[in-house]
Each structure stands twice: as C-alpha cells, then as structure tokens.
Symmetry: C2
Subunit: 279 residues, 2 copies
C-alpha cells in the first residue's frame, strides 16, 4: 500500500523505518486518512497502531479514517483499535478516534433534516394544495400544502421552488420564510427543521407528479381552512393564521439575501423591512 | 440466531421452512432488521438472500439493516448483496436497499448541522464577547459573539442559552431569532444553518470556559463594531446592523412558541408582533 506520514507526505517511511498511514492535517489539530486499497486485517491493524503512536507523539487530537463502501471490511479492525463511527454517506463510512485525555471537541455529525411547506396563493385567493400517495395522510382525502425535504447542498428558497414544481408543475418565485418549526426524534433520532415558505405563482396550470401525489388543485382559501384536519392540528391553525396575516395584513417574515462570510457565499434570511440598512 | 419473518414475528421459519431475518415494518412499506449477534458471513449472506426474496414477494420497498459497532464485520456481506450506507451514529451503521424498480423514495440522511450566534447586550450597551482558543480565529485577538453547535435533540433557544452559560458563565433568557444563514459544504459536504439569536442577560459576572475560550468580557458596542474583522466580513456587518436595529429600533425577529403537530410538541418560531392571532 502507498503510505506516508503526515509530516513527510512523499515518503512511506519515517526516519525510524516504520510505515505509517498517509494523512492530511485538519485545522483543529487532527489528521485524516482515506483508505483506498484492500489490506489484510493484521497488516492494517499494525499500520494503524504505529500511525496512532506517531500521531500521539506529534500531539495530534482527532484521527479520522474514511472507508469507502467497497473496503468496509477494514472497519472491524479500526473498531477493535478503539475507533467509533462519526457519520456515513451512501458510499463511505467515517470513523474517528480522539487521542488527548481531555473531553473530545470533535465536530458533531449533521443533526437535522430540513423540510419546507409551500404556501402558494393566486389572485383569486385560491391556495395550491395536494393529496399525497404515501405517508401518514394517504387515502384520507386531506388537502395540504406541498411539502418536501431540502436536498443536501440546496438552499431553502431553491428547494421550495423545486418541490412545488415537481409535485404540481406550477412555477413559482420565492417570497419569504414566514415561520419555522423545530422538532425532535422524527427519524432515527434526528431532529427536523420545517420552514413555512410563501411563494408567488408564476404559472397556474397543474401537472401532478404521479409517483408521490394523488391529486393537486387550486382550492378556495376558506375551503382549505375549513377542513377538520386543518382545524384540529395546532401547527396547521398557526400556519393558517400566519398565511392569512401575510395575505391580508402586515405580517413580515424573513427574506433571503446572498451574503458572504469567510469568502463563502450563503443566504442570510432576515426581516428586511425592519432593517435600516447601510448595505 | 433468533430469526423471524415480518409476517410471523414469533417464528424463525416461514411455512416453506426457510429461516428469515427478523424485521419490523415501517410506515412507508419497508422493513427494518437490527443485527444483534455475530454470524458467519456465508450464513448471513444466505439469510439475507432468502429474506430479500421473501420481502420482494411481499411487495416491500425499502430494506433497512442496523449493524451495531461491535458487529461491523457483517457490513461487508450486506454491501456485497447490494446494500449501501444510509447514515451512521457513534455506535451503529444503518444500511439500506431498495427493492422496487422505480426510483427510491427513502428518507434522506440528516443534511444540516445547526449552529447559533448569541447577541447578549446589557443595560450599559455592552455586548458579551469572547476570544476562542481553537478554530480559524484563534490567536488573532478578535472579539466575537459566543457561538456554538446545537446538540442533537436540543431546541435552538435552549442551545443558545446553554452555549452562553458554558462559554461565559452568564445566565440569559432567550428573546428572538433575529436572522439565520444557510451555507453549504462546510464539513464533510454537509450544510449549515446558523441562527443569530438575541438573549437577555440575567447575570453579569463572567466565568470563562477554559477548554475552548481564551477570554470573555462585556465590551462597549461601538468598540465591538469598530474591529476590522467585524467591518470586513459582510455577514458580520449585517449582523451588526440587525442587532443595532433590534436594540435601537423596531426590528422584529421570530419568537418561539410551543406548538404541537401530530401529538408531538415542537417550537414554532414566528413574528408574533405581526400576527393577529386567535390562539
């Protein structure tokens, strides 16, 4: 195997002649190594032990090992050496170990899924609603806002426009986040952030996504709010009131602006009306 | 191994006499099995194949296998049978497989880490600021708002009060989310949601968290804003303006209210001032 030390990345050997795992340093005093080739468990175990000794001498803190799906057999050895799991994605498992005696300050795994509910209302005060084919509301004849999960790497405003288009075929323009809800233990112990978004329709014709949606329509607002399902759920009553206050009143949510930090662009959602800005 | 079918959970055998993995059904037409005992790879492989055949006949969709850290050696067999990784936590790896020919509708892995920045200002217009021991700002003499990561299962308002207490010893009461920022590719490809929170101080004495914080103090607001670091970062300029608008003007953020949905309590963050509520 091609291996090198973190201090001498071009060589597979330290001055002592011991082969070490290749590693790159991170900003927090740790090292990361990515497995790329199959290896005999006992050879991997020896390599891991000598590397850990070396990193301990160097005063390193966190040690990360990324194992691709095809080499998952190597994970057992790392676990035996004291590693645990940090996170996994479709094609890899990330293991981690903490060298110092003090409590670890490793970054947490992603903890939240992000969902959106889209409030889309037209000039005739009709709201865009759907019936779902799967999930807890299926087959109950309930009309609800289009909802969906924001993809990894996707902005909330882009995700809500995409979900409305996919489910109903309607083109929209993002207006504001009107509110959001945080809840816990929703799926495998993870937490959820659900953003109630207002979008302005740019088209009216409906084309239903057959895989997930049973039906979609523009429904008079009063008819939507009269549904027992909407009346009985506290969250939906709040959403109804907020949407009504936005349509008929002066309710101000958060508007996204592109804002950079540390040379990275992101979207800042804020109450632009209330801000006396110098920007 | 104790094994049972999903249709006959008390028995390890179907009418055909084939042993199957024990499984529980989920709400989305899928099944989940949790490995609990070591097994020979070839035995596991045979069991997995017969179980998959059975679940296919039953019309099941997603198949989940939860493998505890101690049994990670079993993952290699599941990967060879076509499974991939869905997510991992400290002590387990969750693998998944999709039976139907159609595109999978499996729930996404958690995609976001959630952070907070705490704006705490006292009656003398002094803001609570810290210098960090680690990370990209260490050793630069920069005074910044206390920041931190919200724990899994923790509410944003609780997390911000906790972080301020841990880093500075100051007791606070949560007031509002003033804005939030979404950014991407921050750590291992995950996204970040960073909530700018205003908190009201309930105590003034500072006691620094020695592991992470170099120093903390109450700093005159003007002195904080004059720092080149604060002037040069677009995000920090916005935060400064928003916080000033909140202190001196009429800026309205989102206030949390306990709101239930589907018998589960969560926190709904909304513009309570602008809402003409019937609640």
């Amino acid at each position: 195997m091609a291996a090198s030390s973190s201090t001498n990345p071009m060589s597979g050997e330290e001055a002592t002649g011991v082969t070490l795992l290749p590693a790159v340093e991170d900003r927090y005093g740790g090292v990361m190594t990515e497995m790329s080739q199959p290896m005999d468990p006992s050879a991997f175990s020896a390599l891991l032990r000598s590397s850990l000794s070396n990193w301990t001498l160097q005063g390193k803190k966190g040690v990360w090992i990324k194992i691709p799906k095809e080499l998952i057999g190597l994970a057992e050895t790392a676990v035996k050496e004291g590693f645990w799991f940090h996170h996994a994605e479709k094609n890899y498992l990330m293991l981690v170990y903490w060298i110092p005696k003090e409590e670890n300050t490793l970054p947490a795994n992603a903890s939240h899924r992000v969902g959106i509910g889209a409030f889309v209302i037209n000039d005739k005060k009709e709201v865009l609603v759907v019936q779902e084919k799967t999930g807890r509301l299926q087959g109950q004849g309930i009309w609800k806002f289009p909802t969906g999960v924001v993809n990894e790497g996707e902005d909330i405003h882009d995700g809500s426009v995409r979900e409305v288009k996919e489910e109903t075929g309607v083109d929209t323009e993002f207006v504001q986040v009107l509110a959001f809800r945080q809840s816990h233990k929703t799926f495998c112990g993870k937490s959820d952030l659900f953003f109630v978004c207002m979008l302005k329709p740019l088209s009216l014709e409906i084309s239903v996504q057959e895989s997930e949606i049973e039906a979609a329509q523009w429904m008079p607002w009063e008819e939507y709010t009269k549904q027992p399902f909407v009346q009985n759920q506290e969250l939906l009553r709040y959403m109804t009131d907020i949407c009504a206050a936005k349509t008929n009143g002066d309710y101000q949510g958060f508007t996204p602006l592109p804002v950079s930090a540390f040379d990275q662009l992101g979207s800042l959602y804020l109450n632009t009306r209330d801000l006396q800005s110098r920007h």
